[in-house]
Symmetry: C3
Subunit: 144 residues, 3 copies
């Protein structure tokens, strides 16, 4: 049983945002899978996905601080600066995290750990809405 849906996440400010619930609600057909895999795929190169701690907003803020320092806007070696100072760091930060995230499905839900959540990593100052393709496959709960 195959599921494929295009989802749009509303525009968010630069930073790391918890979107687990929004993604699960956007693909209600996951509930029909007893066991399977779900591929979350973001169709952009200056925003990305990652899995991390779903409780403290501190953690998401500290993600921002680390990436700001490790991939700085004002590095002397950037040559691709046409689209603004936040563009080239956004591309690097996207590749350090994930464009595609494959998650296990069990009993109709993403089988995440207790403290795991999906982050939308918005690396641009004004990235706008972000489009995802969610593709899932699995064994239905009841033989179809």
């Amino acid at each position: 049983m195959w599921i494929q849906r295009e989802l749009t996440l509303q525009a968010r400010p630069r930073g790391f945002h918890l979107v687990t619930r929004e993604l699960e609600q956007g693909v209600p057909e996951l509930a029909e899978l007893r066991v399977g895999m779900a591929l979350l795929f973001i169709r952009h190169t200056s925003a990305s996905l990652t899995l991390n701690e779903n409780a403290s907003s501190d953690v998401r803020r500290d993600f921002g601080s680390w990436f700001d320092q490790a991939v700085p806007e004002d590095a002397p070696y950037w040559t691709h600066s046409l689209e603004g100072p936040d563009d080239m760091p956004a591309h690097i930060r996207a590749s350090l995290t994930d464009s595609s995230l494959v998650l296990p499905v069990r009993d109709g839900r993403l089988a995440l750990g207790t403290w795991q959540g999906v982050y939308l990593c918005e690396h641009r100052d004004s990235g706008g809405p972000r489009r995802l393709v969610v593709t899932a496959v699995g064994e239905p709960a009841r033989p179809s």
Copy 2:
């Protein structure tokens, strides 16, 4: 044909540990797949997975040195310090490597390159046992 198993890796010290054989032995049903995909998924946010060189233990030690320097414990910008100085660096290091790793299956085995092995990346000083969900799907060696 779908396979799904929860595995527990015993507690290991902080560092990078080769666990390929342990994972393969934990999912003996892989032997029944002629062609397929296996999703290794770790249900934590301060330990992670990656693929890298399976021969020299030097390589795994140097991984530790690089991550200690690139994501330092004493960075002045950490605000999430409640769970100890190794916690916030562990979250960042987990997102720089992988929570989920999808590997090809061929003739009943993970189709890794000669020098590739799966690393458990333990980012905490005392992380304890780590739980994984392994989900695999494929075409059986003989029609079932």
Copy 3:
């Protein structure tokens, strides 16, 4: 419907190279899938894959500059130096990007965003040809 093919990418100089078209042409059977997933897997630990901007070659050059600075060849803490100064940085850089990349398939094509392309990240000075295993699964365009 399962597809599995081994592909060889010709030797390329150290750097980030766009290989989307070459990979798609190497797996013409993708055209038969209405919906599915494709796993691109590189069987090496000093070259890797990532998704990023497919237009400006500036972006790919700046990737090289960032990785050269963030994972330097002359770091004092490397102990694994037997295979040359570019080897240990190559291993770290490979783990910061991806050995395996799962992409959605829709209507017989990789469902990438307009600006997304697959990069071969060649981290060695003379890495030679690189081998990939491409595994895809999906629902055929017409019932088989």
